[in-house]
Symmetry: C2
């Protein structure tokens, strides 16, 4: 393992970013292709050295809206301020920053977020960031939950409800743990209680490689199982503690754990999959639901930075 480069803090290196790659030392330049940023073309420590919170989500629009929201919440917004996309020159991902908060889109699915995380981890490492918390804010299908409920992930589990991720390296399977930070999850739950604006639960999140057949939907282009098969699979998931289903949490948890990043997954459930597969709520209602993870995480960041009147110390 490569030693972390971050400064020592409280006598320990334990909040530095790890990269586990001895080959990086011998590279004179590292170009983060999908961000269109590089160590020889950009001063990464100057651009990103102060980052303490990274929020990631699928949609570029939502991540731009998050940075506008958090700027306002932290009192860092200026009249008519625009937040330029830092990844200009590519449309693979979008990235925005205000103060200590970075907001990055990751597209849909494990491979898409995994490319982004490889480059994000190297970016934070090259920028010599320390003590970074990363939160995925997203949408999901709930199981046995009222639509609009926010789920903070306890464990990200696979399609047979195990907290692990199998990745293929040089043609061979490697199994990685998808453990998340339990303390951070509890802190986020407490934030929801502070806010008292919507319901939040802690539960397991199933992460799948497919939105239709992989999540037992009946409305894809293909479906070879019955409604009863679907209901019975979702009931099994519920019994295993699964409260929502999405498509990125497992590799997010595994990669953050390997890099020493404190990580959480906060997704709103847009519907109850036990009752249907398609979204029937209005555009406005769905829009309100989608803002809940960002409101929750915004409150958490404010608390951590002691911003606002009601200062709560951790």
């Amino acid at each position: 393992m490569k030693m972390p480069l971050g400064e020592e803090k409280n006598g320990a290196c334990d909040r530095s970013i790890y990269v586990n790659n001895p080959h990086l030392d011998s590279m004179t330049d590292d170009f983060l292709y999908h961000f269109n940023l590089g160590t020889s073309t950009h001063d990464l420590p100057a651009m990103f050295g102060d980052v303490k919170f990274v929020c990631v989500g699928g949609s570029p629009w939502r991540m731009k809206s998050f940075i506008e929201y958090i700027a306002k919440e932290l009192g860092l917004s200026e009249p008519n301020a625009d937040y330029p996309n830092i990844c200009a020159g590519t449309d693979r991902y979008a990235m925005y920053k205000v103060g200590p908060v970075l907001s990055v889109s990751h597209g849909m699915g494990i491979p898409s977020i995994s490319i982004m995380l490889h480059e994000l981890i190297k970016l934070l490492y090259h920028a010599r960031c320390t003590d970074v918390t990363v939160v995925r804010i997203g949408t999901s299908g709930g199981i046995g939950l009222k639509p609009g409920t926010v789920v903070v992930t306890k464990q990200s589990v696979d399609s047979v409800f195990q907290p692990c991720l199998e990745q293929i390296i040089l043609g061979k399977p490697v199994v990685r743990s998808t453990e998340l930070d339990g303390e951070l999850a509890e802190e986020l739950l407490q934030c929801s209680k502070d806010l008292a604006e919507f319901e939040t639960v802690i539960g397991n999140t199933m992460c799948t490689l497919d939105f239709y057949e992989g999540q037992a939907r009946l409305d894809g282009a293909f479906c070879s199982y019955s409604k009863e098969d679907k209901q019975s699979y979702l009931a099994e998931a519920y019994a295993a503690g699964v409260r929502n289903i999405e498509m990125e949490s497992s590799v997010f948890a595994a990669m953050c754990k390997l890099s020493n990043l404190r990580a959480a997954v906060v997704c709103v459930a847009l519907l109850d999959r036990l009752k249907g597969d398609q979204l029937t709520s209005s555009h406005d209602v769905l829009n309100n639901y989608q803002q809940r993870p960002q409101v929750l995480v915004g409150h958490y960041i404010k608390k951590k930075l002691n911003v606002g009147k009601n200062i709560v110390k951790f």
Copy 2:
């Protein structure tokens, strides 16, 4: 299997789009969520009924640029014409259309393209399209090829070089064939010979779930293998007929085959992975490479539609 709805042509239904889902019959409305299009909100046969060619690619920008290019090539462009994104109201995918050609972005990775294809196949089905050809145009890493070489995929293979895709349905593995249309691949190779602008080969394409460790790169945030391990894995791939590596072809091939869509994968190799992992070519050179698949497919569509002076009948 649900019977195809398409009109009979030459006494057979064999160019219609299949959906293999008996549940679709009982749905009064089908909302294609990630396209923001639905059967009760849009007249899909009127909007898409004439589609004969669908080109898909990762980047929304590239798919917009493709529709502008093909409009000009087919003589369908008008002065100052703008091509609005048909998927307005969502930033998950972008979709453009001119005449019989549809251009759709799919993001990066198997899960992302799989969501798009479920909804594209249902869209073509609801629109009662027939005789549709789908081509993925993309970028890839080459193996033993000069950068800029275009690869038309013979077989899409997995990380142990087998032409199949394992998908998880209700927690159980289902293996699907990733066979592509051999005749279409040969026709595309012939188009490259007609053009004589760049080199094109037919070869196997390895499809992975990860860009860094999954493709034996040495420059990710994590790497647990040596340069020798990498070289030996890529050499094995070459020996198995693999000429390039990308991240979408397997599920693209499998889903098109299940839907009776004539399908091809045409990707340019941006670098030779036997010689490195990072891109060192200039922006202009890479930009030129990225246009090659669209030039090749543009020529193919023109030939099929008998557009231009040098009419070639198939």
